[in-house]
């Protein structure tokens, strides 16, 4: 048994917690150990002095008000934080609702929306795609972009034209550079390189299809609206072969 064990026994004896067996073991060790003898003799005086100091204590500390005040402060600050967060959330919600209701959503959504039109005058189907410009740039632009226009003649119109013009349609002459630049954003012509008889036309990038046959005296829509229009074009959709 090393001396640490006897120190623990001495501590138990000093604190009055030692069992009979522990007291006997310490009593057997103490006569042979000067340090343990002096510990056993002097320590009880110190322990009594500490207990006397505890009994003589007149200090009456009061921390209840401070602690409870701190707890209430903590609760009220938590409440304030919660209310503040709730207020901010409500304010943000109101702002978002007002913004969405006032058309902000349209501004955002318009940037991704494409409108399209399809019209037919009996001889050709016209598709027109329009990508609206952003609203803030609208004032700077004179008109919405209308370049994405595809003109696709009806099959019946093409046949009619072919019947009237058996010689076919010659490829369009090359355009001057300036005019080609103006058409730079045209959509690809689906009929490019193919004449109306189905024969390939070398080097033709655009096939100019005149869906409405040339007709002297054909009235324009404006003239028809004025009432003094001459006889309509003899090739009407109803006359086209089915």
């Amino acid at each position: 048994m090393n001396h640490d064990r006897f120190e623990a026994l001495a501590g138990a004896v000093l604190l009055g917690e030692a069992s009979e067996a522990e007291r006997a073991a310490f009593a057997a060790h103490a006569p042979a150990c000067a340090q343990c003898r002096s510990d056993a003799a002097a320590a009880p005086v110190l322990i009594r002095a500490i207990e006397a100091a505890r009994e003589a204590e007149t200090w009456r500390p009061r921390v209840d008000r401070a602690v409870l005040g701190r707890i209430r402060d903590s609760r009220s600050s938590r409440f304030r934080v919660t209310i503040g967060a709730l207020g901010w959330a409500i304010a943000l919600s109101i702002v978002l609702n007002v913004a969405l209701a006032s058309g902000l959503s349209g501004r955002f959504a318009g940037a991704f929306r494409q409108t399209g039109e399809a019209a037919s005058d009996g001889t050709a189907m016209k598709f027109r795609l329009e990508s609206p410009a952003p609203r803030r740039a609208l004032a700077a632009r004179p008109a919405p972009r209308q370049s994405d226009v595809a003109v696709v003649p009806h099959r019946r119109a093409r046949k009619a034209v072919a019947a009237r013009a058996p010689f076919g349609v010659a490829p369009r002459a090359p355009e001057p550079a300036g005019e080609r630049a103006d058409r730079a954003d045209d959509v690809p012509d689906l009929l490019a390189g193919i004449d109306i008889d189905g024969r390939a036309v070398d080097g033709a990038k655009h096939v100019a299809v005149e869906p409405r046959p040339a007709c002297e005296g054909a009235a324009t829509r404006a003239e028809q609206a004025l009432g003094d229009a001459p006889a309509p074009c003899p090739v009407s959709p109803a006359d086209l072969p089915r």
């Binding site: 110190l46 100091a53 505890r54 200090w59 500390p61 707890i71």
Partner: protein, 174 residues
């Protein structure tokens, strides 16, 4: 002596009411223990406030948790040790005669002041063992539970602390 394991508090109360009951039961005893530990009444009051506020936060987080008196003393001991280490790092250890006005009022004898000085010279672990067993009135087994060690270790530290205090007091009286 208080039950070191579970305080007899009504768990149907909310955290604030339970802490209020804790404060009423333990504030004076705990504050005196901490004052002996740090040798400074003002710091002791601050530490005790921190301990009870920590108890409140613990009860608020887990109302079903059984709070023990041992938990209070363990928390107070940890806060006091932390405080002493901070002071030691900053070199703020004032002589007991300058900051122990509260001790002078009720411990007018030179022996009591010497005793407090001898306690201050103990190491943190020995001081905690001595104060828990001889001042707060816990047994070595309960002190061991509070400090997270064995009862034999507590008894051994008490024995060594007494030896060191006797040496310190012998030098003071010589």
């Amino acid at each position: 002596m208080d039950n070191v394991y579970v305080l007899g508090l009504d768990r149907t109360l909310d955290a604030e009411a339970r802490v209020e009951a804790l404060v009423t039961q333990h504030e004076a005893k705990l504050a005196r223990y901490v004052r002996r530990f740090v040798s400074d009444g003002d710091f002791a009051l601050d530490i005790v406030q921190d301990v009870f506020f920590a108890a409140y936060r613990t009860l608020r987080a887990d109302p079903s948790r059984p709070l023990t008196a041992g938990w209070l003393y363990k928390t107070a001991t940890n806060f006091a040790i932390s405080h002493l280490r901070k002071k030691k790092r900053r070199g703020e250890t004032l002589p007991l005669d300058e900051n122990a006005g509260a001790f002078r009022s009720d411990e007018s004898s030179a022996l009591q002041l010497d005793l407090q000085r001898a306690l201050r010279e103990l190491g943190e672990e020995q001081l905690a063992c001595v104060l828990l067993t001889t001042y707060a009135g816990y047994s070595s087994g309960e002190a061991a539970l509070i400090l997270g060690t064995s009862a034999d270790a507590v008894r051994q530290r008490v024995c060594r602390a007494m030896r060191a205090m006797r040496k310190s007091l012998g030098e003071a009286t010589a």
